[in-house]
């Protein structure tokens, strides 16, 4: 089936995307919550900031990451000095780039679901002795789960396809940052590379199909519980 090199690329892509999404999930939810419920000055600004990686072309995002997180960038220098962490030219950098590109999609989906949560149910939980945090955990969060799931799927897919920011930020290093899109891109540059492009594109399509089927079956389980949509 797959050559060992292709397996390596697939494994790396999955690792990068999974880490990116899992780390971003709570942050995205927090942002979505603030945007849906919060009332604070500068909310529109935060909203714009979250959407930025979507509007600005990926290459520019990669360039900004380079400036910030590079060994000579302010954040990069600090990370290195404080924790000994380097993201530059590392798969962690690829995950960072993917995460930032996926963030706006995740936040939007989650926000949509949070806005759909019936606040009367939260009030009911409070009268039943659940504090704000318990109410969140037992009512608000599960009722907004469809959005979390949709956000995770979108984010994961976006991560799997992320190219511009990654190659600009962490370059294309086989075994370290060469994810599927970067490998496909490289193949596209070869005059006779069409067969390899088709093959690698096929792999990424298969991966996303698997992810989708998985998420759909998760959703089907979750959705029966979410009520609202299930009339008599």
């Amino acid at each position: 089936m797959l050559s060992s090199e292709e397996w390596g690329i697939v494994a790396l892509s999955l690792k990068v995307s999974l880490v990116a999404i899992l780390l971003t999930l709570p942050i995205a939810y927090g942002l979505a919550w603030q945007l849906a419920r919060g009332r604070f000055p500068g909310k529109v600004l935060l909203d714009a900031l979250v959407h930025l990686p979507l509007v600005v072309p990926p290459v520019v995002t990669g360039w900004l990451l380079l400036i910030l997180f590079g060994a000579n960038g302010p954040v990069g220098r600090w990370l290195e000095a404080a924790f000994g962490i380097t993201v530059m030219f590392r798969w962690t950098g690829a995950a960072l780039a993917s995460a930032i590109m996926a963030l706006p999609l995740m936040v939007r989906a989650m926000r949509l679901s949070i806005e759909g949560v019936d606040r009367r149910l939260e009030a009911a939980a409070r009268t039943l002795g659940a504090g704000p945090w318990q109410t969140f955990r037992s009512v608000s969060l599960p009722l907004s789960l469809p959005g979390v799931l949709a956000g995770a799927v979108l984010g994961f897919a976006r991560s799997l396809g992320e190219f511009g920011a990654t190659i600009t930020f962490v370059s294309n290093i086989p075994g370290e940052t060469r994810t599927l899109p970067l490998a496909i891109y490289a193949a596209l540059q070869l005059p006779g590379g069409d067969a390899m492009v088709a093959r690698l594109a096929g792999i990424s399509i298969a991966l996303s199909l698997l992810a989708l089927i998985l998420s759909e079956s998760l959703a089907r389980r979750g959705h029966r519980h979410a009520g609202g949509g299930d009339g008599a």
Binding site: A123, R126, A130, H225, G231
Partner: protein, 208 residues
């Protein structure tokens, strides 16, 4: 264990005001035409709507006092509230709705077992259902059970029997009477049915 209520609220230009004390082991019925503010009073007592001014105290503890700036959050008021619109958790099965508060309570605070509640409400066959599949009366009974199993210190019941048949009503009224008499809880009760009021020997507060 008396519940002292003195609240004022302007809602859409309509003034809602009530001042009364519910003594322990006493049922106070809020009575009045549709839209007069009965639900709003319960919401204020439960801590879900903030009065414009007033004071609410339970057994000497101040739950709300606009002058002193006290506003105890709903989760600390221990009010067993049966909502007019039920508000069952749609993502949780009947069992989990019933036990929502009960599971969190220290055993010493509990004063009714799930089996007892399930028994007199007749919801044993519904435990694995999701709320969306319940009939109107079935959902209402689950809402009553959920509130009682939260071991409240006082009850706020908003037309709790409106979609129940007479047989069921009778059984549930008997339980409410027992709770009133044995646990000596104050009960706030909203109904449009004079029969319920006289059966419960309720003191009537007429809102207007």
């Amino acid at each position: 264990m008396a519940l002292e209520v003195d609240v004022r609220l302007i809602r859409r230009g309509r003034a809602i005001a009530a001042r009364f004390t519910v003594e322990p082991a006493q049922i106070t019925a809020l009575f009045g035409p549709s839209g007069v503010g009965k639900t709003s009073v319960l919401d204020m007592v439960a801590g879900l709507v903030r009065p414009d001014a007033g004071r609410i105290a339970m057994d000497g503890t101040v739950l709300f006092d606009s002058a002193a700036g006290v506003d105890c959050p709903p989760e600390h008021r221990r009010c067993g509230y049966v909502f007019q619109d039920l508000r069952l958790f749609p993502h949780r099965r009947v069992r989990d709705n019933l036990l929502f508060a009960w599971r969190r309570l220290p055993p010493s605070a509990r004063w009714m077992t799930p089996d007892e509640a399930i028994g007199f409400l007749g919801v044993g066959h519904l435990l694995d259902r999701l709320p969306a599949t319940l009939s109107g009366g079935e959902a209402q009974r689950v809402a009553i059970g959920r509130a009682l199993l939260s071991a409240p210190r006082f009850l706020a019941l908003d037309e709790p029997l409106s979609s129940l048949d007479l047989g069921r009503r009778d059984g549930i009224l008997a339980v409410i009477e027992r709770i009133r008499d044995e646990l000596r809880l104050p009960v706030l009760y909203v109904t449009h049915d004079p029969a319920e009021i006289s059966r419960l020997q309720a003191r009537v507060i007429e809102l207007a």
